[in-house]
């Protein structure tokens, strides 16, 4: 059965006798209990941008880690430039000219850009790290590929876009000819994405090969020269981006239609749920992280906050949740809650879907039913007086798992064992089941595949229709535009524009977010 795709690919390769830059044949990778990759075929021509798409957990990252030598395939062969190669470690892959930018950045925050870039292949002189030489080479790469990096800055001071360029610099520094980018655009705004694509074009012009993974199908069609689709661990086919629509791709991935976050009719009522007046959050040095923010969320309204990451959205969320000291007034349903503790705020009816589910949303080493209790320790059904009601908590977890399609064996499963999408659905289900007045949803569908994404959108829309106010923070501009009734743009800690999502394109929004639009620049 491996012959089918192989034959098809041979046809696709068509004329050229030139060997593929990367060819994976029949790759199978098993993890205990899971076959992450089964009999995967992948052919990438030199100098092309090759996209890999597939739902969450389809096995894309696993495949790329195999190609990067991070683990050995159980079966199958890897050919680089036509030669069969065994990759025992990333070091081998690096030596073979392969570099990888991981889905989650692999950077040491407390190191400088220079240290991060040279780590593992340091220039030395007389046994000592030759910083001057390293600096020179990084500057050179930075200039050649327009990466614009300062070698001596600490990485923790950089934004996501810069971090990504550091990752790319790492790879280029090692002389990679094949670049793997795992979901590089998930955290970028359109302008940054464009820059990235500009960088990629630069790279392919220099003859480099790029393999890149994304959930954003439009993007894929725009930038890729060819596409491979993976489903449930195996290749289901390849596609030509010029002739394939996003819808067709999505169907190939999941067999369902591409979801759209279109809002139905407006459900906004008069009563405000949340009012912020002059909320200011100080930061460690200098300019406040959140600067004099005022906004109102009404019942049945979704207020979207757009902004490049690191412009104060996270701090604003923290301030509303009481996780960070802030000046100004926070009013919930007519009551001033500025001085309240996080717990009191949650009890008063604030639901919270945090940005980073692993860090703030879950106890990974605890069973699902305990995760059901988290954040609702003082409210039924999970607790009775000072005690925990285990039976009720379990029962309610089962309900959430049913209602929200959380795929796991049972409420006693540890949360780590769930995939990201399922964890997210559990969190959303948990927050919804307390019937909050206000939901703070930060990146509710980040890294979640299309199926789960549409489910979460539906949930948010239903809740909104029932009168819940929602503050939505997202980096996904389609999501923001599609779900919000009102859009606020946040830049350097301030709300710089209020926009009407019904007449807005992502590109325009992106302009506001980066301060490129006139109004926004004026506001500064």
């Amino acid at each position: 059965m491996a012959e089918g795709p192989a034959g098809a690919h041979a046809a696709a390769a068509g004329t050229g006798d030139a060997p593929y830059a990367v060819e994976l044949r029949g790759i199978t990778k098993r993890f205990p209990g899971v076959v992450a990759n089964r009999d995967i075929e992948l052919r990438v021509r030199r100098g092309e941008v090759h996209a890999i798409v597939g739902e969450n957990g389809a096995g894309k990252s696993t495949l790329m880690k195999t190609l990067y030598g991070m683990h050995r395939p159980d079966e199958g062969t890897i050919l680089l430039d036509g030669r069969e190669t065994t990759l025992r470690s990333p070091a081998d892959a690096i030596a073979a000219g392969i570099g990888m930018v991981h889905q989650h950045f692999m950077l040491a925050d407390n190191f400088t850009v220079l240290e991060n870039v040279v780590l593992g292949s340091e220039p030395t002189r007389g046994g000592r790290l030759d910083r001057a030489e390293a600096r020179r080479r990084i500057r050179e790469i930075s200039q050649r590929y327009a990466l614009n990096l300062d070698p001596d800055v600490l990485v923790e001071e950089l934004g996501v876009g810069d971090r990504q360029r550091v990752e790319i610099a790492k790879v280029l520094y090692r002389g990679a000819t094949t670049l793997i980018l795992d979901e590089p655009t998930a955290v970028l705004v359109p302008q940054e994405v464009d820059e990235l694509f500009g960088n990629l074009a630069e790279l392919t012009r220099e003859g480099l090969t790029v393999i890149f993974i994304s959930h954003k199908l439009d993007e894929v069609r725009k930038v890729a020269d060819s596409i491979t689709v993976i489903r449930r661990g195996t290749t289901v086919g390849s596609a030509d981006p010029r002739t394939t629509t996003a819808r067709q791709l999505a169907e190939m991935m999941v067999g369902s239609e591409l979801p759209s976050p279109q809002t139905r009719t407006s459900t906004v009522r008069e009563t405000p749920v949340l009012e912020l007046r002059g909320v200011t959050v100080a930061s460690l040095g200098g300019r406040p992280a959140v600067d004099d923010v005022s906004l109102t969320v009404r019942e049945g309204e979704v207020v979207g906050i757009a902004g490049v990451e690191g412009n104060g959205q996270a701090e604003l969320v923290d301030a509303i949740m009481g996780l960070r000291p802030a000046e100004g007034v926070v009013v919930l349903g007519g009551e001033d809650i500025s001085g309240w503790s996080t717990r009191a705020r949650r009890e008063a009816g604030v639901g919270f879907v945090p940005e980073d589910r692993h860090r703030q949303g879950m106890l990974l080493e605890a069973p699902l039913w305990e995760n059901r209790i988290l954040g609702h320790q003082t409210r039924p059904p999970a607790v009775k007086g000072p005690f925990i009601d285990r039976t009720a908590a379990r029962a309610d977890t089962e309900r959430i798992m049913r209602d929200y399609d959380v795929r796991a064996p049972g409420p006693d499963t540890l949360a780590v064992a769930l995939s990201g999408g399922n964890q997210q659905k559990l969190i959303v289900g948990r927050e919804m089941s307390a019937a909050p007045r206000l939901l703070i949803a930060a990146h509710p569908t980040r890294g979640v595949d299309v199926g789960a994404q549409s489910a979460i959108w539906e949930l948010l829309k239903d809740a909104r229709a029932e009168g819940m106010g929602i503050l939505l923070i997202s980096a996904d501009l389609d999501e923001l535009i599609g779900l919000s009734d009102t859009l606020q743009v946040m830049l350097r800690g301030r709300l710089v524009a209020t926009l009407d999502p019904s007449s807005l394109t992502p590109e325009e929004l992106g302009g506001h977010m980066t301060g490129a639009s006139d109004g926004a620049v004026g506001a500064l």
Partner: protein, 427 residues
């Protein structure tokens, strides 16, 4: 394109003024500044209280002597923790080091003792590495187990090898070392004509105090003290200025990233923890050299103090050396003169008063009042107390360490992945 980047501030984020003073920015300048300030303060306190012991050359040489084992243990901790392995087993490794030094030392002399101590300590480190790196055991757990094990093991080994040993020794001690380690003095200044010694004896304001300090750290310095002092800058260079050091530290900051760049994380951690054990063992050797013999219980918790010095010093060699020095100074004073300890109360009063003024300027009145109250209390203590009881005096160094730590409003920054078990491919 740079518009998207978060604004880049060139200066490091402030960590509170006192911390910055100790650990921040232009290190050399700050260190000089602190040393000058402290000497001035000590000098004033000495003149007022008449406690010559405060700044005598013998006090400083004792401080050095006492600081060496602690500092070496701390350096051991530095290597392990910079590579991401918390080493609470330093005490155990130090115990192994003392035994190894005693055992090798009575047979092959002082050089043998150094090798023996390092090897035994390193063996302890190896066990820790196997448990934490290969088996992924919680670092604290493994360290505690090693501490227990080391105690039992050295007793057992002594029983096995020293009872009925014609060379001497017994269940709690080794035979004496067969040769003594050499020691050095700075010619002319600290030796022979001993110019510094003369100056130190004059009881002149500041001049004698500085002379005391200089003579203290340059006369009769043992070979291991010399090694320990050298190891501080060497550790810095190795960890911060070489490729090896960068790789080692990357395992403590983000092992997954290091792994993805082909750094052999497990091997680096092994190397680091074994070095750590070796240095802790060397700390044990220092103790054996002092007594010329291995003696059970000799370490007396110095491994733990070394760990504290490491944290005190913000996981940096210079900082931990300062921590060890401070502890050594207070410990030496405590062992030498109970009355000098009372003079420390005056020092404390002055320091607290400075804090109070500083906090007032910053508008933090609660802290200011608190500091002033404690300053007054210390002053009253200084004026009324003649001599403190042994029980109270005995914990002077520990109390001072605790006080300095809580005064230096600290945002210490430990390596980010310190103490986290790293398993390949699991993040």
């Amino acid at each position: 394109m740079s518009t998207t980047a978060a604004p880049v501030t060139t200066s490091a984020p402030s960590r509170g003024p006192l911390t910055d003073l100790f650990l921040g920015g232009g290190t050399a300048r700050r260190v000089t500044w602190i040393v000058v300030g402290l000497m001035l303060l000590l000098s004033v306190v000495r003149i007022i209280s008449g406690e010559q012991a405060l700044t005598s050359s013998s006090t400083f040489s004792t401080a050095l002597l006492l600081a060496v084992p602690i500092g070496l243990a701390g350096l051991g901790g530095l290597f392990a923790e910079r590579a991401g392995v918390v080493n609470i087993g330093l005490e155990g490794m130090m115990i192994l080091g003392t035994w190894g030094a005693g055992w090798a030392g009575y047979q092959w002399g002082w050089a043998g003792a150094i090798v023996g101590g390092i090897l035994f300590g390193a063996a302890g480190g190896l066990v820790h590495a196997i448990a934490t790196v290969t088996f992924g055991v919680d670092h604290v757990v493994s360290g505690v187990a090693i501490n227990i094990l080391a105690g039992g093991l050295v007793r057992f080994l002594s029983e096995l090898l020293y009872v009925d040993n014609p060379a001497g020794g017994g269940v709690t001690q080794s035979p004496a070392l067969s040769s003594r380690p050499p020691s050095f003095s700075l010619p002319v200044l600290s030796d022979g004509p001993d110019l510094l010694g003369d100056l130190a004896g004059k009881e002149w304001f500041l001049v004698s105090d500085v002379a005391g300090l200089l003579r203290g750290v340059t006369s009769g310095v043992g070979v291991l003290t010399l090694i320990a002092i050298l190891l501080v800058p060497i550790s810095y260079v190795v960890l911060w200025r070489t490729a090896f050091g960068l790789r080692l530290r990357s395992c403590g900051e983000n092992p997954a990233a290091a792994d993805s760049l082909g750094v052999p994380v497990y091997r680096m951690k092994y190397i680091a923890v074994v070095i750590s054990g070796g240095l802790a063992g060397l700390g044990g050797v220092a103790l054996v050299f002092v007594a010329n013999i291995f003696k059970e219980g000799q370490t007396g918790g110095r491994g733990f103090i070394g760990l504290a010095a490491l944290i005190f010093g913000n996981w940096r060699p210079g900082g931990l050396a300062a921590g060890a020095g401070l502890f050594g100074f207070a410990d030496g004073l405590q062992l030498r003169s109970r009355t000098a300890v009372v003079a420390l109360l005056l020092l404390l009063a002055v320091l607290l008063l400075a804090v109070a003024v500083f906090q007032t300027v910053r508008g933090k009145y609660v802290q200011a009042v608190l500091a002033a109250a404690f300053a007054a209390l210390s002053l009253v203590g200084f004026l009324t107390i003649e001599e403190l009881p042994e029980g109270i005096v005995s914990f002077t160094p520990h109390l001072i360490t605790l006080l300095v730590l809580s005064l230096a409003s600290q945002r210490l920054r430990m390596p980010k992945a310190d103490g986290l078990v790293y398993r390949r491919g699991e993040s």
